[in-house]
Amino acid sequence: MEVLNLLLGVEFWIATVRIATPLIFGTIGELLCERAGVLNLGIEGIMTIGALVGWAAVYQGANLWMGVLLAAAVGCLFGGLHSVLTVYLGLSQHVTGIGITLLSANLAYFFYRVLLPNATTPPKIQPFQPLPLPLLSDLPLIGSIFRQTALTYLAFAIVLLVAYWLYRTPIGLAVRMVGENPQAAEAQGISVYAVRSGAVMVGSGLMGIAGAFLTLSAFDSFFINLINGRGWICIALVVFASWQPFKALLGALLFAGFDALQLRLQQEIGAAIPYQVFLMLPYVLSIIALTVMSRRSGYPKALMVPFRRGER
């Protein structure tokens, strides 16, 4: 009964949408990379450095949107590094991605400590305020779901945009083509290198925004281990979504719903079950989701296959 009450409560739905936002950005970003045939394990670190750069810019007095923009730019930058190594040089995408994650996360922590050598409590910034949507937010019962911050609306818009872009534009076709059959794309006169690295850079920019959402909207400060595996969960969500944007949105919302429920149950049940069990649930859930979905998933055929011009 209590669970039902929780599910019917408006706060639960607000929390679900809020928790889903960084996952939507991250999952769509990873999806773009993988549709172009490049696995980007740099996501965890790119989210971390996006979170830091966005927060640090605002902390130094920049506008909130400037922070988001800078986070996206840094994401693009590391995406560019990843694509130089994996697309142009054809290095192992697994190992390079882990390297990007380690490098960018540690750079973020390094600069955080350079910026604040002795801070015990992280300083706060003024984060994005909720922006009620006109008309929708006045609806009875569900109206308050539409009182999210601007970045959340942006996340939903990005899903629409990316879906349209992937399936209805020539560039989107080219992205899907280099992920499925780069040789055929090359024969069509498409530069596989350029399309792949473009997709990886745009995708990584979205990962940067995912991180910035956490420091500029969900929380109001940066701290060590802020991302805490959210990037890896996004990678699981891409598989869960069978590499399709709308399914990714659905997966992120579903996952966030479970997470929000878990947080509320934790408060309700309290000490009866150790809190670590609740904290484990998102990770366990991701593994279960992968197990259920993986057989049916139609992965991009050239995913993780490096392309070298003139080689078969």
Binding site: S92, T96, G99, L102, R113, V114, M280, I287, L290, R295
Partner: protein, 347 residues
Amino acid sequence: MMLERRQQVPVWLALLAPFSAITFALVLCIPLIAWGETPVLQSYGMMMQGAIGSRFALSETLSRATPLMYTGLAVAVAFQTKLWNIGAEGQFYLGAIAATLVGTGWLPLPGWLLIPIVLLAGGMAGGLLLLLSAWLKIRIQVDEVVTTLLLNFIVLLLVSYLVEGSLKDPSALGWPQALPIIEAATLPKLLGRMHWGLPIAILCAIGVWVLNRQLILGYRMRAIGLNLQASRFAGIPVNGVIWLTALLSGGLAGMGGVSEVAGLKGYLSLDLSPGFGYTGIIVAMLAQLHPIGVVFAAVFVAAIYVGADAMSRAANLPTYLADVIVSMSLLCMLISILFTQYRWRWR
């Protein structure tokens, strides 16, 4: 400009690769060091001094290298079979948990018997954890990268639960740490903070080398890594070999956890490993997955950590500098490996 694959990688080039990678990484990190309060060259001097400048520094470096040898070997064994084990961190902690379960007193055995049992328990725990991911990979086609990564977080939360709950040391003044390992299960000390975990790690490296070069299983493992389809056609029992690889790789990482908890720290806590599992990937790549190379690469990486720690204290820089240098050298190493395998052709 073209890349052309070399027929054979000359030994001198393979040996040169890690050195050039680390040198290049150190050069790339100059802008970060310039942030500190001492001149760059002097900083690097202090780093060298802090890593190998004294008996104490050397023993510190070697004791820091010990866990990296285990995780580096774990990653090397898995990667050469193209089993992407990114979960050495979790296997390391699960091994430490097993050591704590077995080695905190209820098993009243003499040391010569208890230490092997503790090592075996830790190895089994780590091996079984990776076996779960390998099983999911083979039977259900779930990507092992994601499952091993996610299991790291799950195991860490398990550790958090145990050190606050059933394994908590009541005499630790509320500090979340597990019961101490008893005297009989403790790996004897060698010099300074160095302990028997180090020679055991070197023995493991030699063991893996013998396995790779002299035994059929090792040959099969490498064959699968080179070409899965061809290995299957050649009649190699692919799934069985991958399962054994998983057991071995996870087992090595788990033994690393035992070595650290029963050799250095003496008790399990949440800060047992500052990312040894992830650094193991860097160690393995620097060694180009060669088991003997892992021993030297681990010492090299540990020297960077110990040296950079000393230097960043003196130059008033964040200690994350060491992590930045080491992860930078991973990316440089990947490029170096490319240069060893291919030659540039201008035309």
